[in-house]
């Protein structure tokens, strides 16, 4: 059995420790790129502006004293365009002074009940 030289064990240990630290730092750097990607992906995926625009359109219709809300032509315009161009199912109706809005694009669903205060 050859006799091993046991000098310099401190140096060897520091080498190990530093290499492990560099490894952990590399993992953190790799993760940080993923975090930016998933955050912006979820922002793109969540239909915030779609829901805001649908609400604003329906409230614009409602401003005409419920007449436009019960107008079947407008409702079919909105439903067909939302289904074909925005891949979402929407629906709205009123029950006297209460307005119901429903939105579903398979991932996000949004339901609202709005009561008109006179």
């Amino acid at each position: 059995m050859a006799k091993l030289n046991e000098d310099g064990q401190w140096i060897v240990m520091m080498g190990f420790i530093i290499s492990i630290i560099i490894f952990i730092l590399a993992i953190i750097v790799a993760e940080s790129a993923l975090v930016g990607k998933t955050t912006s992906e979820s922002v793109l995926e969540f239909p915030k502006t779609d829901i805001q625009d649908l609400r604003s359109l329906i409230f614009q219709l409602k401003s005409n004293d419920w007449d436009d809300i019960v107008n079947q032509n407008y409702k079919e315009d909105i439903q067909v365009l939302f289904f074909d161009r925005k891949n979402a199912i929407v629906s709205y109706h009123n029950d006297s002074r209460v307005l119901y809005i429903h939105y579903n694009n398979g991932i996000t669903s949004y339901n609202e009940m709005h009561e008109e205060q006179y």
Binding site: M1, A2, L4, A33, L34, G36, K37, S40, E41, V43, L44, T49, D50, D53, L54, S56, L57, Q60, L61, D68, N73, Y74, E76, D77, I78, V80, L81, D84, R85, K86
Partner: protein, 172 residues
């Protein structure tokens, strides 16, 4: 006469070389796919900028008046030349103005979608306006606005309908 000293060093050297060979083989044989990580971030910013610009145009300047977008669609002639100059100028200015000198390089193509109320089908889109630059598969985003048209539209197809204004925006 073979010297039998330092056998442990020999074994260590052989195992290290095998380790290195296996590592190189694994690295070379593994296929790596590099996807750019930050395209989603620029897409997100482009989408928010475009939606804001279109929303500004769809907001009336004063109570009781109609928005710039509504006026442009109302006055667009039914022959559909595909270039609404008033809307084009407003949208270009909102998208491409920089604080200091020079303009940004965003391009757009805007189309109008509406439903034919007798058949219930969506008609082929009306080319509303574009800035004349062709779209060649750059990274693009789509932003939309809804407009409720009245009975004062010059194009009778769009009268009393809710139409979808769809803008494709890309940077080149």
């Amino acid at each position: 006469m073979v010297n039998e000293n330092a056998q442990l060093y020999t074994i260590e050297g052989i195992s290290a070389s095998i380790l290195m060979l296996v590592t190189t083989f694994l690295v070379i044989s593994s296929s790596s796919i590099v996807t750019p990580q930050e395209t989603h971030i620029t897409d997100m910013q482009l989408e928010q900028l475009g939606h804001d610009a279109l929303l500004v145009l769809n907001t009336p300047l004063e109570n009781g008046t109609s928005s710039i977008l509504y006026q442009c669609i109302r006055d667009d002639p039914p022959s559909h030349p595909g270039l609404n100059a008033a809307f084009n100028a407003n949208f270009t200015q909102l998208l491409n103005t920089r604080i200091f000198s020079g303009n940004d390089t965003l391009h757009f193509k805007v189309q109008l979608y509406y439903r034919d109320q007798s058949s219930g089908e969506i008609k082929p889109p009306i080319d509303f306006t574009s800035d004349g630059v062709g779209y060649f598969r750059e990274n693009a985003v789509k932003v939309t606005q809804w407009v409720k048209m009245g009975s004062d539209v010059s194009d009778s197809d769009l009268q009393d309908k809710i139409i979808l204004v769809e803008a494709l925006i890309w940077r080149s």
